[in-house]
């Protein structure tokens, strides 16, 4: 059950991050000032992928709630880092970003860490 919850949490996080990244790149630059945040809210309402990203974020959070209820915090939080692996992979495949050797090596090291944490 622990890996099912980790899987749902990571899949939802990755989907949320990818949707946010894809849609925010199309929406253009936003500042973090009060005016920028108001504009950001407007962008969220107008762009359906951003709404979907928020739904995915909620699914990820509910999975995390269920995970910390059943599993140790010292497992749940580090295991959530598995999203780095899939985000790196999908950033290359879906968003067509350049993934350098350092970033790819980092994702592989995270994978080793998650395996060790889970055993």
């Amino acid at each position: 059950m622990r890996w099912i919850l980790v899987g749902i949490m990571v899949a939802a996080t990755v989907a949320s991050d990818l949707l946010q990244s894809y849609e925010m790149k199309r929406a253009g630059e936003h500042s973090v000032s009060a005016r920028g945040l108001v504009r950001l809210l407007g962008t969220i309402v107008q762009r359906r992928y951003l709404i979907l990203a928020i739904v995915c974020m909620a699914v990820s959070f509910f999975s995390f709630m269920a995970l910390v209820q059943a599993e140790p915090l010292s497992f749940a939080v580090p295991a959530s880092a598995a999203s780095f692996i899939f985000e790196t992979l999908l950033a290359k495949l879906v968003l067509r970003e350049h993934v350098g050797v350092r970033r790819a090596a980092g994702a592989l090291i995270v994978l080793c860490g998650v395996v060790l944490v889970g055993e």
Partner: protein, 140 residues
């Protein structure tokens, strides 16, 4: 350079570190409070959304959610003060803090293997983060 000029130059750096410390603290408190509340919540979570909504009424769970939302907003503010290549590696220390809090306050058994795994995750996350600022869209 006068003392006033030095202070003026240091101010943004100090502000970034203060926001960074606030983010790490909020994330740690949020995770711990949420875990504490969920572990003491009598109802087991299922596919139905009702137990989750019910759990949110628990004071520890509610405190955890508020702290994690504030952490999210603080992280956004941090991105306006510092580069992603600085923020991601430094905030990865949160994985170690979570393991430490689990061991100390929730009396979890953290084996040497789990510590090693957590350290690898921190190193890996730091490497992923330090390479992230160089990403560019490939032109087809």
């Amino acid at each position: 350079m006068t003392v006033t000029e030095q202070q003026r130059q240091l101010a943004p750096v100090l502000r970034a570190y203060a926001v960074l410390a606030l983010f790490i603290a909020l994330k740690a408190v949020g995770n711990l409070s949420l875990a504490w509340g969920m572990k003491h919540f009598p109802q087991v979570m299922s596919a139905s959304p009702l137990p989750y909504l019910h759990a949110m009424l628990d004071p520890f769970v509610a405190l955890g959610i508020v702290a994690l939302i504030l952490a999210l907003l603080t992280r956004m503010a941090l991105f306006s003060l510092a580069d992603l290549s600085f923020v991601l590696p430094v905030t990865a220390v949160g994985y170690i803090i979570a393991a430490f809090l689990g061991k100390t306050f929730l009396h979890e058994t953290v084996t040497a293997q789990r510590w090693t795994g957590t350290l690898l995750i921190v190193v890996g996350a730091a490497l992923v983060g330090s390479g992230a600022h160089k990403t560019e869209l490939e032109i087809e």
